[in-house]
Subunit: 249 residues, 2 copies
DNA sequence: CAGTGGTCTAGACCACTGG
DNA sequence: CAGTGGTCTAGACCACTGC
């Protein structure tokens, strides 16, 4: 039940926070799908019996978290990885000079896609049990013809049942867009751990470098709604003509 | 002059944006110094002849940018690098296991602090002219007794006139806190470019690693108010027991 | 033109802090 | 207790979109 602020209620939360949670629920249950419009602020205000300003504050925060996108005059939309200007929203590797837009899309080569049992590490990262089934995708990204990123991607097998190397190869668009449209899994945020490492012989071969070449090791865990981890990525990045860019504030 | 919204005015901006700019101006001119309280929302509303809600929206955005900090019941304060829980606000290197808080403060050793003329690279990064005077500080940070970070820090000589190795060594607290209190320079945001590299012989020596050891190269430009660059840092990070952590959303 | 989000106001009341 | 920021409302009007 929606409750106005009240210090006597043991665990009270502001109204806008409750509205935020209700909207979030609509997103998780798929009532509103990525790319679709949610009801207008006035409609939501009527539905939840609160003022438009309260709904507005809830939507403000959700759109600050990149879960919703407001478009003046049109409506408020569920954020999506498809139909986005930038090809890779979470990839921070940029050319040292010039714009990553102008050089055209990366060339993606699937090396492998197989079913495995998760070891302890993988299971912990994905909140699974050791031995649970996972998919392991290995691929290489090349920019301007140069192999630059080699990554292993682990996905829990159940939500991604039916994903094949074939489907990955033929899909045009970001992998996260495919996850949305084919499996209903939307990645919302991610955490990365970065190190400097040397590749092993096989990795060096795939990236066309020696095994003394220093590479960036980027381990990413991506989360869907509700902070549920749905992907583990371990990438090796060449940084001889590119760099990982980060903004601090 | 403060203007309400009006489509006929050629370059109009929302009232709250104008208030935001006015507050920003007070921060830049030092009317309100780091750590101090700014006037209450009601006072500012009266001063600028707008409603409290409009002031509130301006402060909301400034505090989202980490320029102000709200404290319910007390007031709104100018953000500061001093009196902060975390020792290093911009340093994202964390121990692989455990908390960076519990292991105690880093040991800081100043290797060198000298006056130089900026070369083209340094000058461009700091928006100076080649040949302008800069300070170059070289230091090593050690965690739990292990030399982990070696960094060169370039500062424009004029605003930091009088900074010495002696002062840097004796100051207890973050370097950015010293910049605030002694030179009135507050760092507001920063950009980093990260690569994997090998050290040269001298760098390897200072970090106690071989010159085949892969290291993180972190180049940071820090900005004060108004996007003015005031510091260039080039750091080498050991990542054998630590990692650079980043949150993506 | 109607419908959407965006701005602004005035006023009420709540929650938190410190004297 | 007074003073601060935090929440919530109701209503007005502006700016943008698409029909």
């Amino acid at each position: 039940m929606i409750q106005p602020m009240d210090s006597l209620t043991p665990a009270f939360s502001p109204l806008y926070q409750q509205i935020k949670d209700l909207i979030l629920q609509g997103l998780q249950t798929g009532e509103w799908k990525p790319g679709e419009a949610i009801p207008s602020e006035m409609d939501l205000a009527a539905r939840y019996r609160v003022s438009q300003g309260t709904v507005r504050k809830a939507i403000d925060e959700l759109s600050a978290d990149n879960l919703l996108v407001r478009r003046q005059g049109k409506g408020t939309f569920v954020a999506t990885h498809a139909e986005q200007q930038v090809q890779y929203r979470f990839l921070k590797l940029q050319p040292d000079s010039g714009d990553s837009q102008q050089e055209g899309p990366a060339d993606r080569t699937i090396i492998d896609c197989k079913r495995q049992r998760a070891n302890a590490d993988i299971a912990r990262a994905l909140s699974l049990r050791a031995g649970d089934a996972v998919l392991l995708i290995t691929r290489v990204l090349s920019f301007a013809g140069v192999a630059t990123i080699l990554e292993d991607i682990w996905l829990p097998a159940t939500p991604f049942k039916g994903l094949t190397a074939e489907r990955l190869s033929t899909y045009r668009g970001a992998m996260y867009a495919l996850f949305e449209t084919e499996f209903g899994v939307r990645m919302v945020r991610a955490e990365e751990r970065i190190r400097a490492v040397n590749p092993d012989a096989q990795q060096a071969e795939l990236l066309g470098v020696t095994n003394q070449a220093p590479l960036l090791s980027v381990e990413r865990i991506a989360f869907t709604y509700n902070d549920v981890p749905m992907e583990l990525r371990r990438g090796l990045y060449r940084t001889d003509t590119r760099h990982y860019r980060n903004a601090l504030s």
